[in-house]
Amino acid sequence: MASVALSEAEKVYIVHGVQEDLRVDGRGCEDYRCIEVETDVVSNTSGSARVKLGHTDILVGVKAEMGTPKLEKPSEGYLEFFVDCSANATPEFEGRGGDDLGTEIANTLYRIFNNKSSVDLSSLCISPREHCWVLCVDVLLLECGGNLFDAISIAVKAALFNTRIPRVRVLEDEEGAKDIELSDDPYDCIRLSVENVPCIVTLCKIGCRHVVDATLQEEACSLASLLVSVTSKGVVTCMRKVGKGSLDPESIFEMMESSKRVGKVLHMSLQSVLHKEESLGPKRPKVGFLG
């Protein structure tokens, strides 16, 4: 991740502030920074979203392609994740520098979606054993300002909500040759239900307390973090300890309780924002990158 040089005095200041539930920018320990979400920003994709969380900027594009189902799951489609850490985000990502972080994030995304209930994969099947939809989710890291995993999971959820997969029909000839027919109406598509798509909540251990949505400076003061992926119903799909330090078992239990609380609030506000944006219709003013 991007690193920032902090003096000992600054670290002590941050740690003491967190003890008193007061962070450098005035937030409490469980408050997120202001999050801006916009969907449908890229026109060549089946779905896209852009999330700005403080100084962290993520762009996600989802493209639906036709592929063959996997051998173990013949009547389901699947998702593929690719993460690209652009050199714009921080100079450390120049050349191959961002590859390690990109693979780590992609592996985490595979892990959080690796269960039956997150996305209804059987709706992505066209004809069993032969054709299915493969959703290629491409994540682009434009700017790194701390708390990457949370922002990326919010962007992925928003992009999947925005994804429109064209409706196809499989026609069979007399000889048995199959032909795939695309519907004539360009607006006739299937939408994915993102009710159970999880969001990642990263809790950084600073001193004796933990904070949600750490900035780069706060991440430099924290030795260990717990990454929990929660759905809107409070079901946990993935848990991971990140960082060089170790965690006390009691703080792990406390962090898991917090993640459930914080996750519920995050999901509720994200759902309401996404529905509100959709209700504005296709004629809404688009903010894009210049707003």
């Binding site: 592996n107 690796n114 079901v235 993935c238 848990m239 991971r240 300890k241 330090g245 006390d248 078992p249």
Partner: protein, 272 residues
Amino acid sequence: MPGDHRRIRGPEESQPPQLYAADEDELPAARDPTRLRPVYARAGLLSQAKGSAYLEAGGTKVLCAVSGPRQAEGGERGGGPAGAGGEAPAALRGRLLCDFRRAPFSGPRRRAPQGGGEERELSLALQEALEPAVRLGRYPRAQLEVSALLLEDGGSALAAALTAAALALADAGVEMYDLVVGCGLSLAPGPSPTWLLDPTRLEEEHSAAGLTVALMPVLNQVAGLLGSGEGGQTESWTDAVRLGLEGCQRLYPVLQQCLVRAARRRGAAAPS
């Protein structure tokens, strides 16, 4: 290999024969959820490695070797305030490079030696779990290489690799705060899901969720945690972590004895 269609008139595509094999409807037998499989551990068996360890738990066999400390690759990094206890400043601290590999014959289907994504993820998990235990500040500008090779996967492979790696580091004489003990868990699905400690491969295949915990027993600090799947609410995962930590504490005396035996062997073999 591209098909040689001029001489061999066969089908264009082929499928592995397992698809057509009869479904093995073998369900894992019911058992006590807190049982740990008997563990065989031996340290100091490879002559070419600085430290090594072999761990066998049920059907899982892991071999781990440690080499180093040697000079770290990578550019010059500046200094900073020195840490306590004569340790190097943060920028000059040593590095731990971990590599987790599965042998091609470790699972039911052959895997190519270049595993790719999953092995990178598990190597990172190994590194994140071992770093809290190793005093890297005492090895400035050096790197320690830990490589774990899974010979046979009989369930809880990552946990076994973590334990073997910690034993190998201790055998190499690397300065550590404490040993790291790993324990695997899996959630058996059904009307009343229960977490099973130290699952076998069959139990893992039929599970709804899996979790690996790594504990430093004396300090009582969790060094690593990796879990995923449909585990249910946070209470269920909390119970799983508690069960895992208990399992790690029970495993610790076995590892202590293994290290004592290895030290005695080395002492007896050394020319006096």
